[in-house]
Each structure stands twice: as structure tokens, then as C-alpha cells.
Assembly symmetry: none
Homo-oligomer: 243 residues x 2
DNA sequence: ACATCCCTCAACAAACGGTTGAAGGTTCGG
DNA sequence: CCGAACCTTCAACCGTTTGTTGAGGGATGT
């Protein structure tokens, strides 16, 4: 009985069981023809994956492990990220759900609100985000993008605009339309109002120390608010997906 | 005359003249303290820059050259791009036409929607989050925390609840009250509705592959939506903080 | 039993991103 | 005109990243 259970190993990604390292290769060969056994083992030595082991020491890859490998390979292929960075991203996302005593507070204010380091014009933004140039005007009129205006009257976008534009492009690709983006923007506006109401008095104070303090509070609170909303959404979706 | 012109070499970036390689270093040292002469020369051998030369063979860097170096260094520092890719981007930009970038993808679905790995009861959650036990009931009745219920009727929280609880605790500490949290929660609800409307048909399909596909889309879209909202908020706050 | 898979561990290696040093020319102030 | 402080090229060297290869041996499936 136990023996026949061990032998049964459905090959489908939807199956309940696990796959050996060789099966992983054949599984991903369509998308990643270059993938090798040694590379997967290498990813393990680098701490990017950590599959369970069988009694005899064989690696056993779950569906989750498979998707994780897929993600790593895509980040390498599509965004040229070094494995260290991919690992950090994976860990950051895990921390979002599994955070231990760390993450007492958000990123420091100077990271959250650093001075802009990029200056893109509209066409640069469009190509950087894979966004139709026409849509950029829409996003601006919705208040989703908030470019500065140069002396010559053209728009100047910074790196926050770029990340916003990128997220918007992803959503539009997925079939959402501007109406949906607008409703997300309204959510951000409400958070903004609350935060300003909270830190406003400190911000208007002329004392630079109060200002700095207000900035810190704002950064941390904004981060927490975003975390909260993402967490609530995640929780509801998880509940929905749970069989 | 010609001689005095060669000698006059304004140091400002706005000046019309050019800078020697050493002057470039001192110029960029604020933003890139590690920058070396050899690195700039190396960038030239790799074809990323191509400064003019003086009669005697010295490199002469224009303001454009400076901005180009700045761009290269920022792409390295902020986006970890290999020099080859940066070079390709520069060339594409010079060619006037630009290829569409690969869509940036979010975390893999298994990280966004992994099966719960933690099971906390209410008091464990309270201590883990630094949250008053009384408040937990409030958060549940607001729908912010969504615990499962054990067979004995007690609440079971998972790691998403913990991160939500943590964020809520931070916000309450900062002076927000439950009313504010509720409005954030409503924002999440609206995003949830949109996403379910989008992926619902796929989710209800029995084909496990469609289900998986729907889960992936949902994870990516949820992530993009959160990114968008956080980005919009960040942008508004930045604008507010800008002097 | 025997092919085929899997394991570890160590050695190797190609590409990337520079640094260092030798040998020598240029510029500038005194 | 000299010396200090620049600048030049070129070749050799270096650490890190990202794996591959091979030896030696165990596990699995038919």
C-alpha cells in the first residue's frame, strides 16, 4: 500500500504529488530549453529554492517549487537580475506574509521619498512602461500620473511615475480599463487625505526637525497603509481560492 | 586667444566647455563615490561612451557625455542592468525607435497565494503584532482580519493575518483609528471586486489548468493594483513634501 | 541484473566588471 | 626649464557570478 503510493506520481502540474529533478527539466523545457539539472542544483546552493528531500535524498519538487523556479528563470531572462537580487525579492515577498519580529517599521523616509533621480519625457515614459502614449494623457488627467512641468511646458516624469505607469500598463494589459484605475486612484486619494490630516500640522511647522519627523511618520504610515490594504486584498483572494 | 580659450575651463555643468577625466570623477563623486578613472576608461572600451579627444589625445567630456555616464551608472546601481543591456538601451534611444520592454511581472502566484503555513490563535496574534486583544475583535468585525474558525469555535489566523495585524497596529499607533482602517479596507474590497469580476469565469472553470492560469493572473494583477495604489499615494506625498 | 536515474563534492571555466602597473606623453606653475 | 600632477595605452591580473563537468557511488524501475 505504502509502496504503491510512492510509485504513483502524476506528471501533471495540477497533480498532488512531487516531481524529481529530471521531471522538472522536461516540464520547463518548453519555456526554458537551456535549463539543466546542474543549474537547478546550483539554484539550490544559492538559496533560491529549497525542495524537500525523499528518504533516499532525492529532491522532490512541489508545484510551488516549480512556479518558484519559473519565476527565477523569468526574472533572469526578462530583467537580467542577478540571482542575489531575485533572492532578495523572493524573501521580501515571503516577509510580506511570513514576517517575523523584523519589519517593525517601513523603509526609511529617504527611501520612500527620495528626491527624483530620473527625468523622463512622455515618449521615454511610454517606451519604458510599454504604455500607449495616448494613454499617458488619460492617466495624467485622472491624476494617476503627476508629472512636473518643465520650463518649456513639457512633462517631466520621475521614477515613481515610471513604476506607476508600469503597474497601470500591467493592469490595462490584463483587461482592466481606465475606470478601474480611477477607482484605485480614488483609494489612494482617501489614504492621502487621512495621512495629510495626520501629519499636516507637523509639516506646516517651520522647524526643520518637525518637518523631518513629519516626513518620517508619513513614510512609515503610508507604507503601513499600503501593506494593510494589500494584506486585506490578499486575504480575501486567498479565501476565494481556497477550495 | 585660442590659447586662453583652451585654458579657461568652467567647472560648472552648465558651462559650455569640456572636462578632463579627473574632473568628471570629482564632478560625480557626490552621487557615485566609488567611481574611478579606470572605470570610465573601461566604459569607453565597452562602447558605452565615446568622448572626443584633444589634439594630445586627452579625453574631453561634454555635458552630454556627463549625463550619459550618469545614466549608465544609475542603471547599474538602481536596476542592476548589465552594461550590454544599458548599451543597447542607449543605442536604441539614439536610433530614435525603441523596442517594447518585456512586461514586468509580479511575484509568482505561490508566494502571493501560498497555502497558510502558520496557525495562530488570538492571543498569539496579539503578541506577534503588538496589538491589543480587544482590537482583534474589532478588526474581525470590520472584515480586516478574516480568520478561519476551528472545530472548537476558536479563531485561527495565518501569516497574512499577521502581516495585516502588524500593519494595523502600526497605523493605530500613529493615531489613525478604526474608521480610517475601515476606509482602507473598503478600498481593498473594491479592488477585490474588480479582480474577481476579471478572473471569476476562469476560476469557476473545472479545468485545473485554467484554474492555475486564473490564479497566476489574479496574483499578478493584484500585485500590480497594489503597486499602482502605493505609487499614486507615494507620488502625491512626494509632491506635497517637495518644497 | 542492468540501465537509468539520482546524489555529493571538487575542479574547472567563461564572462563580467573592473584594477593595477609599466612606460611614457602633456600641462602648468614657478 | 624643471618637476608635480595630470593624462595616455596596453597587458596582465583579479574577484564574482553563473554555471558545467566528472568522479565516485547510491537508488529506482523492468
Amino acid at each position: 500500500m505504502a509502496k504503491s503510493e510512492r510509485l504513483a506520481r502524476p506528471v501533471s502540474i495540477t497533480g498532488r504529488s512531487t516531481r524529481s529533478i529530471g521531471e522538472v527539466i522536461t516540464f520547463l523545457r518548453d519555456e526554458f530549453p537551456e535549463l539543466s539539472v546542474s543549474k537547478i542544483r546550483f539554484l539550490e546552493t544559492q538559496g533560491l529554492i529549497d525542495p524537500q528531500r525523499s528518504q533516499s535524498g532525492y529532491r522532490e519538487f512541489t508545484d510551488d517549487d516549480l512556479r518558484r523556479i519559473q519565476y527565477v528563470l523569468r526574472e533572469q531572462r526578462d530583467h537580467f537580475l542577478p540571482l542575489k537580487v531575485i533572492k532578495a525579492k523572493l524573501q521580501a515577498w515571503e516577509a510580506g506574509t511570513k514576517s517575523g519580529p523584523a519589519a517593525e517599521s517601513g523603509p526609511p523616509a529617504d527611501i520612500y521619498f527620495a528626491e527624483p533621480t530620473e527625468a523622463l519625457d512622455a515618449s521615454e515614459l511610454a517606451t519604458a512602461c510599454g504604455l500607449d502614449p495616448d494613454v499617458i494623457g488619460d492617466l495624467i488627467s485622472l491624476g494617476i500620473l503627476r508629472p512636473r512641468t518643465s520650463s518649456r511646458g513639457t512633462w517631466i516624469f520621475d521614477e515613481v511615475d515610471r513604476s506607476v505607469g508600469h503597474a497601470a500598463a500591467r493592469l490595462l494589459d490584463r483587461g482592466l480599463d481606465l475606470r478601474h484605475l480611477r477607482s484605485i486612484k480614488l483609494g489612494a486619494d482617501r489614504e492621502y487625505d487621512v495621512l495629510i490630516q495626520l501629519a499636516g500640522p507637523l509639516l506646516r511647522h517651520n522647524n526643520p526637525e518637525s518637518r523631518q519627523r513629519a516626513t518620517d511618520i508619513l513614510a512609515d504610515t503610508a507604507h503601513a497603509a499600503s501593506q494593510l490594504q494589500e494584506g486585506v486584498l490578499k486575504g480575501r483572494l486567498r479565501a476565494e481560492l481556497r477550495p
